[in-house]
């Protein structure tokens, strides 16, 4: 093979790569947080059948889970302006991330709420808790704790999926990679490096979420 792998371009573009990583992490952090909040709202509505939210959430969940993220992104970024809603790349990317993750987390958290033993709810009712108090103090944490691994995986999947945001010129990691390879003509090396960075981000985010699960949600001393 005459081909020589050449990663000498890396230092020149380190700043850009850092920008892309930051952008991707920003999308993930904001998308993960808001998406989870939407999911909690959806899970409550669907578990208690709160009208009209339960029905709306049902449609929303099915629509977003049964269409590709890329198409959702295009619809938001290219389609919404014809309805007079013009969003920047960043806003469109964030909105798509939040809505996509919200649909998944609704179902994930709902499963967690359903897995709460009926007896726990009866116990808090017998202590004169209101429904909201029961939810907030008795159901939420055990439910989140139970589905935290599934929710974490979904957040990582969504982070990896955010690479298609490059297609609306959101300046995340893949966008930066596309830019670099268009300059240095080292497509393979550039994408190889980028892929490795994504892999590292996935590992780091997974670890960080596991730590959050252990310390923030379980909130108990390690035995």
């Amino acid at each position: 093979m005459a081909y020589h792998f050449d990663f000498n371009f890396v230092p020149d573009y380190a700043g850009m790569l850092a920008h892309g990583i930051g952008y991707t992490l920003g999308l993930t952090l904001l998308g993960g947080t808001l998406g989870t909040l939407i999911g909690i709202g959806g899970a409550i509505s669907r578990t208690w059948n709160v009208r009209p939210f339960a029905g709306l959430y049902r449609c929303y969940v099915e629509l977003f889970r049964n269409t590709p993220f890329l198409v959702q992104l295009f619809l938001i970024f290219f389609g919404l302006p014809s309805l007079g809603i013009k969003l920047t790349e960043w806003q469109a990317a964030i909105l798509a991330m939040v809505l996509n993750l919200g649909a998944y987390s609704t179902e994930i958290i709902r499963a967690g709420l359903q897995a709460i033993p009926k007896g726990l709810i009866e116990a808090s009712e017998s202590l004169a808790f209101t429904r909201w108090q029961t939810f907030f103090y008795v159901m939420l944490r055990p439910a989140l704790l139970k589905v935290w691994p599934a929710l974490s995986s979904q957040i990582v999947i969504t982070m990896l999926g955010s690479s298609v945001c490059s297609q609306i010129s959101a300046e995340e990691l893949t966008f930066v990679a596309n830019f670099i390879q268009s300059r240095n003509f080292r497509a393979f090396e550039t994408y190889f490096l980028t892929t490795a960075i994504y892999f590292a981000l996935a590992v780091i985010i997974r670890q960080a979420l596991a730590a959050i699960g252990r310390y923030a949600i379980a909130r108990r001393p390690q035995a």
């Binding site: 889970r65 890329l70 389609g79 919404l80 302006p81 014809s82 994408y191 190889f192």
Partner: protein, 219 residues
């Protein structure tokens, strides 16, 4: 060149490209399933080197974006003078992606067969192959059906990413028509509807299967 499209033209073009999406999905699912079976056996193998490489394979595909996998395939192979046409790169890429995810889903099912089943069949003097064939796999398969159908939805949605490397499936065709007609909202709504029509029945069926599997387990 100026062309005008009637709504009918648009729908017909989308429908034709939708067929490509279906073909790609089915191919990736079938070949990915076969490859996934091989990865599964490697993953649950007792030989460490095989087991570890299967694990690495799965983690690489699960830990990186599908888009990057396609780019590496597309650009990596061209280093070796292999210029893959977009449809082939799309098919190979999605197949590998599918194999890794299915192998991991199925591993979960094999491992959730209770340990007592292994012990019971061992005590009946079955070999590893016999245990697998007669005791473990039949039970694991029952559990695997629902998540496997569920994953089919991810495969169909995954095909949209292949539009980025130029494969003219549903999303790509939608984009091209959108550029030609200046009706992005209509086009992407129709594209979304197309995927929904393909995916929703699968999701619905997967959920139904899941309920069936869990139904006998009361409490």
């Amino acid at each position: 060149m100026m062309m005008t499209f009637t709504l009918w033209d648009i729908i017909r073009n989308l429908a034709i490209s939708g067929l490509l999406t279906i073909v790609l999905s089915v191919a990736a699912f079938v070949f990915g399933g076969l490859a996934g079976l091989a990865v599964l056996f490697a993953r649950i193998s007792k030989i460490r080197a095989i087991n570890a490489s299967a694990r690495l394979y799965i983690e690489m595909f699960q830990g990186t974006p599908l888009l990057m996998q396609l780019f590496i395939l597309f650009f990596g192979l061209s280093l070796f003078g292999l210029d893959l046409p977009a449809w082939l790169a799309a098919g190979v890429g999605l197949t590998l992606f599918t194999s890794a995810f299915l192998a991991e889903i199925w591993r979960g099912c094999v491992e959730s067969v209770p340990r007592g089943q292994w012990e019971a069949s061992t005590s009946l003097a079955m070999t590893y192959a016999e245990q697998m064939r007669h005791v473990i796999l039949p039970q694991a398969m029952r559990m695997a059906i629902a998540p496997t159908v569920g994953f089919a939805v991810q495969v169909v949605k995954g095909t949209a990413v292949t539009s980025i490397i130029g494969f003219a499936e549903l999303t790509k065709t939608g984009s091209m028509l959108s550029n030609a007609t200046y009706q992005p909202f209509l086009l992407y709504s129709l594209v979304a509807l197309g995927y929904f029509i393909l995916c929703y029945p699968l999701s619905w069926y997967a959920q139904r299967l899941e309920r069936k599997v869990h139904a006998p387990r009361t409490n």
